[in-house]
Structure formats: structure tokens, C-alpha cells
Symmetry: C2
Subunit: 219 residues, 2 copies
């Protein structure tokens, strides 16, 4: 077996725009959470549960980024939060400019907490700073504990990892300790929560962290 390297440089020059946006959000006291994961990892289900649990204490906004459809934005706006559906027209990630457009549509300066549900993709969103205050990623149990080895950048760039669908561990061979060890090798400072958004297990620790962040952002 041979290993060959296919070099190609990704150009990503939106860092300055992202930093400007982050400073504006800091001034308005709006915490933007960039939520990233593979397709079907359970981003919308996690947000649904989180909003039901702590939503009444905050002015919340949601940006649903998808290539197509508006099923997620419809589901979450039914919870009574402001939601905007951003269609990326084939683009595999959100960048700072796209995020700004969506934030302005939503009107962000009267919100405490905005969730950007990024496009379902474990690769490209990690390369583009959206201007978010915190980056949160989901890895679901059915995806497997080897994902940190294959998609290292996303784990490196995230402040929080939520390991979700923990109720599926009876069917899937998933070694939590091995997974977390692999993640911490990439990113020693990352916070890791094991949760099941369906039955609520472990959600309290994640929501406590979230409330701490929202409470101290821009204050």
C-alpha cells in the first residue's frame, strides 16, 4: 500500500471580515454559536431540545444554512424563535459575508443568542471563520469513533464537541474514551459533552455551559 499526497491550497481570506463581525456582535452583546456537523448528525434535534429547555430566558435567533429546502427552519420557527433560512446555492459552507447577510436579515442587535446551523459537512465549514463567538461541533455515535483521525481540522477549530445519539451505542461499536483521547490530541482545550437530545440525557451540562457563555458575552 502506497500513500500519495495530493497538494492543493485552500484560499480562505475571509478572516478579517469574520473578526469585524465578531467585534460588532460583541458590542451588541449577541453571542453567535456556529454549529457544525456531518449531514444527519442531529443539529436540528439538538437545537430544538436546547431551545425548549432554556429558550424562554433569552431572545434567540436561528440561521438555518442549507443547500436547499426549509424543513429545519420551519421546525424551529414553530418554537416561537426568529428563524431565517439561508440557501447557499450549492455552496458547502457559510463564510463571514454570508453569515452577515443572514444576520442582518434576522436583525441581530436585539438578540442575546443566535445559532447558526451550518451546512451539513465535516470538512469545509471548518476552513471558514463565520465571525461566531463560539464554534460547536457534533459527532454522532453512528458516525464512528475514528472521525477525529480523518477530519482533524473540524475538531481542532471547535470550542465544544457534543457527542450525540448516545442512545444508539447499543447498536454501534463506539468507544467514547478512545474517541475523546483522539480529539484531545488534536485540541487539548476542547470541552466534550455526551448527550442524547432525544431522551435529554446529558443536556444539562451543555446547557449550563451555553448559559455561562451567553451571560458573559459582551458584558
Amino acid at each position: 500500500m502506497k500513500i500519495i499526497e495530493l497538494k492543493e491550497t485552500i484560499t480562505a481570506s475571509n478572516d478579517r471580515d469574520a473578526q469585524e463581525l465578531r467585534e460588532e456582535l460583541l458590542r451588541s452583546g449577541t453571542l453567535l454559536i456556529n454549529l457544525m456537523a456531518s449531514p444527519g448528525a442531529g443539529k436540528t434535534t439538538l437545537l430544538d431540545r436546547t431551545i425548549r429547555d432554556i429558550g424562554s430566558r433569552y431572545k434567540i435567533g436561528i440561521i438555518e444554512a442549507d443547500i436547499d429546502s426549509d424543513v429545519d427552519a420551519r421546525a424551529l420557527s414553530a418554537l416561537g424563535v426568529s428563524a431565517v433560512q439561508a440557501h447557499t446555492d450549492g455552496m458547502c459552507h457559510m463564510d463571514a459575508g454570508m453569515t452577515r447577510t443572514a444576520l442582518e436579515e434576522l436583525t441581530y442587535d436585539d438578540k442575546d443568542l443566535i445559532f447558526l446551523e451550518n451546512v451539513g459537512n465535516l470538512i469545509c465549514p471548518a476552513e471558514f471563520d463565520t465571525g461566531a463567538g463560539r464554534n460547536v461541533m457534533i459527532l454522532s455515535v453512528p458516525e464512528g469513533d475514528d472521525k477525529p483521525l480523518k477530519y482533524p481540522l473540524m475538531f481542532t477549530k471547535s470550542d465544544v464537541l457534543l457527542i450525540t445519539k448516545t442512545d444508539a451505542v447499543s447498536i454501534f461499536d463506539f468507544d467514547f474514551d478512545k474517541c475523546e483521547e483522539r480529539v484531545r490530541k488534536l485540541n487539548p482545550d476542547i470541552l466534550i459533552f455526551r448527550v442524547c437530545a432525544k431522551n435529554g440525557k446529558g443536556m444539562d451540562a451543555w446547557e449550563e455551559w451555553l448559559e455561562e457563555q451567553a451571560g458573559s458575552w459582551g458584558k
Copy 2:
């Protein structure tokens, strides 16, 4: 809830290179299968099972495309097939040029059947023709039956859809009929197989199709 469109054009001009490569593969009688899916959908497990079942009748090659690591190529080369690990250095997909580089490293003209396990990503690989004779995609049950609505291009570009991890349907709410209806609306000609690579259920129909394709390619 508002819907905003974020327009941006993807430049993809590798179609001519891909067509040339496909014609070369046709002349050498080598069927290249481009296997695409989300991270953790079970591409390697499917290939492992398929090679164990029908591998002895063909000269098989494997290209494992990953951003990092070589765990999959190691696993599959243990089955006695030629395997090459292609590192994309952060790139989220394989294009025709990258595929050619990997094929030449593998030496393709003495192979009957080559599997390209594309980077785990439900978006970008669908935009880049690799030169493969057939495009095959996996959607695993834990990802959910709404994926055709959100990632339409991949379903449109695939000749075959394998719905995998069917043994997980006891835990996940997945409506096979609704999913297949959504897929056929995008792509009426697509072949759909429901399989579980772990317990072997449904693998025979997929392997029969594969043997038919390999038998008639370039003949």
C-alpha cells in the same frame, strides 16, 4: 421566517479531463466505481463486505481518498487487494486529475474493478466528475430520510443509492418509502438497494448489479 438566497457559482471545469479518463478506462476494460457518502455512512464496511463476497473473481484495486490518516486503506489492503491511500491535503473531494494520479500509482490497466472511496462529504464530490464509469452513493439510516431534500445534487448524480445500516431502523425513525419517493423525484432512473453490510442482508442484489456492470464494461 424568511428565505434568502446566497448566490455563488462553483467553478468546475474538469469535465473534459474526466471524460478522457473514462474513455481510457473503457479501453482497458477497467470499471471505476466512485463511492460517495457522508462521513461515517459506512463506505469502508460496505467495500470490505463486497470484496469478501465477490473479490476472488476479479482483479480489484482500491483508492482511499481522505484528508488524513490511512486506517481505511490499511483495513482493505489486509483483504489482499491493491490499495492506495490518497491524501487530499484538506480538499473536500476528488477531481479527475487527482483520480488519474491515484490510478496511475495503483496501475489500473491490469484491474477489472477499482473502487474509489471518495472523501466523506455529501456535497462537494457530487460537483466533480472523477472519470468513474459509475457513481454510487450511500445514505445510512441514522442520517435520516430527509437528506434528499437537503443534498439533492448527490442523489441526482448517482447511478445507485445504497441505503445502509438498515439494522439500525429499530432505533432511528426512518421511512424507507418516503425516502425513496424523494430520491426518485430527483432521479427517476436511480437504482436503490437496502443493505446491511454488517449482517449481509440485501448485499446479494447489490453485488449482482456490480458483477453485471463489471462483466459488460469495455466489452
